[in-house]
């Protein structure tokens, strides 16, 4: 088990006042809140913050934690000294963190488990309660929405044993991804949420769809965009070009005198939703490098023949 330095995590000195603890918590909670923060490890940090605050805001837990001494370093292998909690009373309950079942081993060793209390004071199993609905995100590729797919997802569900102990159960589930699903839509799986108590039925599982970033395509609602590199002569003279789309490829006609950044629309070839989205090809003109004498000569010819000034509108 590793020691956790709650003061260091919250940026506090060990003699910080309760008001300072509270202020630091509020500030960091805003910083790491998973709904607000885009930091990749925001969720883990937010949980750690909840755990640190759970200890430091409670004078009794804080005093017991302080008694371990200031010489421990975060991450250091740790065993609680015998009778370290003598004279302190940590009653079940009093835990305010909603995710307290996800607190660290360190916290559990020191202060016990939160949420579910010991079997003799806890709920009787004769009670029947519907399980809670649960939520998860499911990441799919753009192609999955074009074709429909089956995806396997891993879930961890907290479950209570007959002895009233909470443990996390891992399971996996095959889920059908219907064709034409959009980013942000939800699939509801009835009865796949948290198990009920007694003979209570299980809750439902809500899966929020998230598209993985695609190396070629970008998605906005039901429209799909592709940056298509074209040669200067293709843009200038017009061309028929083979273009990849998520469910195959199409022949695209590029009109003569197309400009850099021109958008060409393939109607109805976006996401196959009820009203299908459009597919947009954005032209990106790529210049061949003037590396050889011949290539240089072609550019020089263009310069002399075309008399082209790209900065004409700037008056220079």
């Amino acid at each position: 088990m590793q020691y956790k330095d709650y003061y260091k995590f919250m940026g506090l000195s060990r003699d910080a006042s309760q008001d300072e603890v509270k202020r630091a918590y509020k500030k960091l909670a805003r910083k790491y809140h998973p709904d607000v923060s885009k930091e990749t490890d925001a969720e883990a940090k937010f949980k750690e913050l909840g755990e640190a605050y759970e200890v430091l805001k409670d004078p009794e837990k804080r005093a017991a934690y302080n008694q371990l001494g200031a010489n421990w370093k975060s991450g250091q292998d740790f065993k609680p000294p015998p009778n370290w909690d003598e004279g302190f009373e940590f009653k079940g309950g009093g835990f305010t963190g909603s995710d307290s079942h996800e607190f660290s081993d360190f916290f559990e060793q020191m202060f016990g488990r939160a949420g579910f209390q010991s079997p003799n004071t806890g709920r009787k199993t004769t009670e029947h309660l519907r399980g809670q609905d649960s939520h998860a995100k499911i990441h799919i590729d753009l192609e999955d929405s074009y074709r429909g797919a089956t995806r396997n997802i891993s879930l961890s569900t907290p479950e209570m044993s007959a002895q009233g102990e909470l443990h996390v159960k891992h399971r996996s589930l095959n889920v059908k991804i219907p064709k034409g699903i959009k980013q942000g839509q939800h699939i509801k799986l009835a009865g796949q949420g948290n198990p009920g108590l007694g003979s209570g039925e299980a809750g439902d599982l809500f899966l929020e769809l998230v598209f993985n970033n695609h190396p070629l395509y970008r998605v906005a609602e039901t429209d799909v965009y592709l940056d298509l590199p074209v040669a200067p002569w293709e843009a200038a003279l017009g061309a028929k070009i083979k273009v990849p789309i998520p469910d195959g490829s199409v022949e695209l006609t590029i009109p003569p005198n197309s400009r850099q950044g021109s958008k060409l629309r393939l109607t109805g070839r976006g996401l196959p939703t009820k009203v299908p989205g459009n597919f947009f090809v954005v032209l990106q003109i790529v210049l061949p490098p003037a590396k050889t004498d011949q290539a240089k000569e072609i550019y020089q010819n263009m310069q002399q023949t075309l008399g082209f000034n790209p900065r004409e509108s700037m008056g220079v």
């Binding site: 909670a29 809140h33 609905d133 089956t150 996996s172 942000g184 939800h186 799986l189 439902d204 599982l205």
Partner: protein
Amino acid sequence: MSMNPNDPSLVHTGTIIEDEPLTLGQLCRACGTHAEWVISLVEEGIIEPDGREIRFWRFSGVSLVRVRSAFKLQHDLGVNLAGIGLALDLMEQLETLRAQLNVTGHF
């Protein structure tokens, strides 16, 4: 022949809630909140159900996401209703801007 719902090879087909929107009761259950609180979110204009009377209210996936975020903002940060509305709107603007950046390809 009955199927075992725990069979690992079984493929589960769900419903898309945008096709079958949630009632007030279903939304509350999904978010673990009280109906009174969800009603106050509607009154504050934070979520907008289809249907005029409460018993005909239907909520989309957008409402589901907003109610869950609202609950966490209140529970974790102590934000009040007006603040929740403001925070969610600003977060939505941020998302829209990010999506636009993604489409134009400029980062």
